[in-house]
């Protein structure tokens, strides 16, 4: 079976994310969810539709839609 490659559409800056979950309210694709034990944010690239609704819904402005927007240290680590 051939493997499908998924393009990452959004990037979450871990330093800014406060794990509030506000982004999960707009993610109809369920690509963003809070883990029920740790209550930390989980992003599933395979489910992401690239709608970008989460970008403006994040109160911490932790979600970036473009790698160009990321601080260079974060981008280099990806």
């Amino acid at each position: 079976m051939s493997k499908k490659a998924y393009k990452q559409r959004i990037y979450i800056e871990a330093e800014k994310c406060v794990e509030c979950g506000a982004c999960t309210a707009v993610c109809g694709a369920k690509a963003l969810r809070l883990d029920k034990t740790t209550w930390k944010l989980i992003y599933n690239v395979q489910k992401c539709q690239g709608c970008m609704l989460c970008v403006s819904a994040c109160p911490s402005r932790a979600i970036k839609s473009d790698i160009e927007d990321l601080p260079s240290a974060v981008a280099a680590a990806l």
């Binding site: 406060v18 794990e19 506000a22 309210a25 740790t38 819904a57 911490s60 402005r61």
Partner: protein, 393 residues
Amino acid sequence: MEVKKSFEEINEKIKNGTAVVVTAEEIIDIVKEKGLDEATSHVDVVTTATFSPMCSSGAFLNFGHADPPIRMTKVLLNNVPAHAGLAAVDAYIGATETSFDRDIEYGGAHVICDLIAGKKIHLQATSPGTDCYPRKKIDTYITKDSINEAYLFNPRNCYQNYDAAINTSGRTLYTYMGVLQPNMANINYSTSGELSPLLNDPYLRTIGMGTKIFLAGAPGYVAWQGTQFITEVERGNNGVPTTSAATLAVIGDLKQMSCDYIQPAVFEKYGTSMFVGIGIPIPVLDKDMLMNLAVENKDIYTNIVDYSVGRRSKPSLGKVNYAQLRSGMVTLEGKQIPTTPLSSLSKARAIAQELKRWILTDKFTLQEPFKHFNKVSKLNTLEEVGKGEIDNE
């Protein structure tokens, strides 16, 4: 014999390193395992915490005097207006104030957090000039270390409970409770439930003026009752309010705070706010107190309120408990609706653990309130009246 402990006895134990301190989540299993009596004698302090957007927050700053001096009447900090209707170089920067150039994307909350982070802030101030304060203008940069006092004074934080939000209309709503999808597609809620400070002390038996708290990573105090404080509300059998009730006004030294526990927030098409981290240590004075502290999400209820009704009083579509909200799905009117917290449980847990470490390692003691808050049975409303109509009895 029934166990009773005073603040003094518990503080002695903290000082000599023998106090047993657990979080409000950990206490639940301890009580189940040991029973109420044994747990009351075993545990001395329970730490509670919340990390939520709290709009009613801000900071008092004293900039120090320039030479020649100025009596500032208009103040901008990174282009965000601060209230300068105080003495010459005092100002209050409110968290929700927005900037002239970046609107809600950069507001008072960002200025406060940039100050805490040690960043340089652009200060611009003007004045008509007076004989004693001749300067009319200043344009300079400050940091938290270059100014005198800088303290957070938040008039309303730490809501005891808060209604969950839903939207029955056909259009998306952008609110301080986050984005509410049309046709009841999501429910947003905002308290840390069984870990939340005032849900663990429903009648504020141990929390009042002077209570020592964890405020954004620094030691702080409860200064007063919070605004819109009300106690005589509907309560469950366990005494826990099922709607918004008590609130706290809190104060603490901004210079000692940490950005790990306070962050600016921007709510789409609504405005700027601030995530504030608060932890309150609660003493296990007796079995009754522990019974309150062992409260579980399944026994804490709140209303699901329709935000599509643009009135002061919004209708409730029903009650739900925090175990249901935490499960991620609530059934309402036969429909399965996903739920989203806006208050970060992972951050609240980190605060409860850090406060535990303060007590165990740094010997952070508890302060018995100097004054308990009075009961309040009614909130006043603002009515549009003519001058002759006002009832001033």
